[in-house]
Point group: none
Chain length 158, copies 2
């Protein structure tokens, strides 16, 4: 199963165009879409992105919630209402909508971080800060690597 992996920082030109890293592009196209799905994170100042497969999974997760609950509506308004399907141009670039760029504080450079089935888009300096923190947490959780069996059971984390 191909997945989003690695970290790449690309420039955004005057028209708002930015190259999606070629390796990410091939993951998305292998899932049957000539583009990616992006939406603002509700956890921080960055953009979440994925191929169509994970985007469909999100939609299914929403459908399992109570159709008229306010929780479902709020999640859906972000995950679906604020999401955008960004298609590649003939050179593999996408245009990040102003809304998304503002949410992530992105000006003229964007850092793409592969996270497996999804990826994130950060303002480079903001990501550096996040990464330093993440590295610390990972070091603390380093023992998980030695025995994955020690993880909480499925769905048990938050």
């Amino acid at each position: 199963m191909e997945s989003f992996r690695g970290r790449f920082t690309n420039k955004i030109d005057a028209k708002g165009r930015v190259s999606l890293p070629a390796k990410f592009r091939s993951v998305a196209t292998s899932q049957g879409l000539n583009g990616v799905v992006c939406f603002p994170s509700f956890q921080g100042s960055f953009i979440e992105g994925s191929g169509p497969r994970f985007a469909d999974e999100i939609a299914q997760m929403l459908q399992r919630l109570d159709p008229f609950s306010s929780e479902r509506d709020m999640l859906a308004s972000v995950l679906i209402g604020d999401s955008a399907e960004l298609m590649f141009d003939s050179d593999g670039r996408i245009v990040l909508p102003e809304e998304l760029r503002a949410h992530a504080g992105i000006a003229d450079e964007a850092t793409f971080v592969g996270l497996g089935e999804k990826f994130q888009i950060w303002e480079p300096k903001a990501f550096e800060a996040f990464r330093a923190e993440a590295l610390e947490k990972a070091r603390a959780h380093g023992d998980l690597l030695k025995s994955p069996a020690a993880l909480p059971p499925v769905g048990g984390a938050r």
Copy 2:
């Protein structure tokens, strides 16, 4: 199950290419990938590497966490975002990205150390120092190794 075994030191050319030891190569290909997955160790100045099987185990471990939890994002950004899938060229070489080389302090030579299901890549002199220390610790903790017959059934190894 084939595993990474032995120690080899190879040269890195001007383009960052280095031959993966043939014996390591056959382990990776037998796992179904014509390449290896590498990421910077967060325990020291060396590179961790493995075949696709171990890399998939990590990915599956992460998938057991909630898809948008900060815990998962942090672990994934370190374990996957900092990793690279390095494919063999037709001569069995990989290209070590500048970032990984910098992390390990590697210039023009790299030492590959087999560790079973994974391996490590060191700057040769740094490894010599580490090895001297490891030898001492092995002497001190050799009694930790028990006969397999004395171990609990499955899941005890890793």
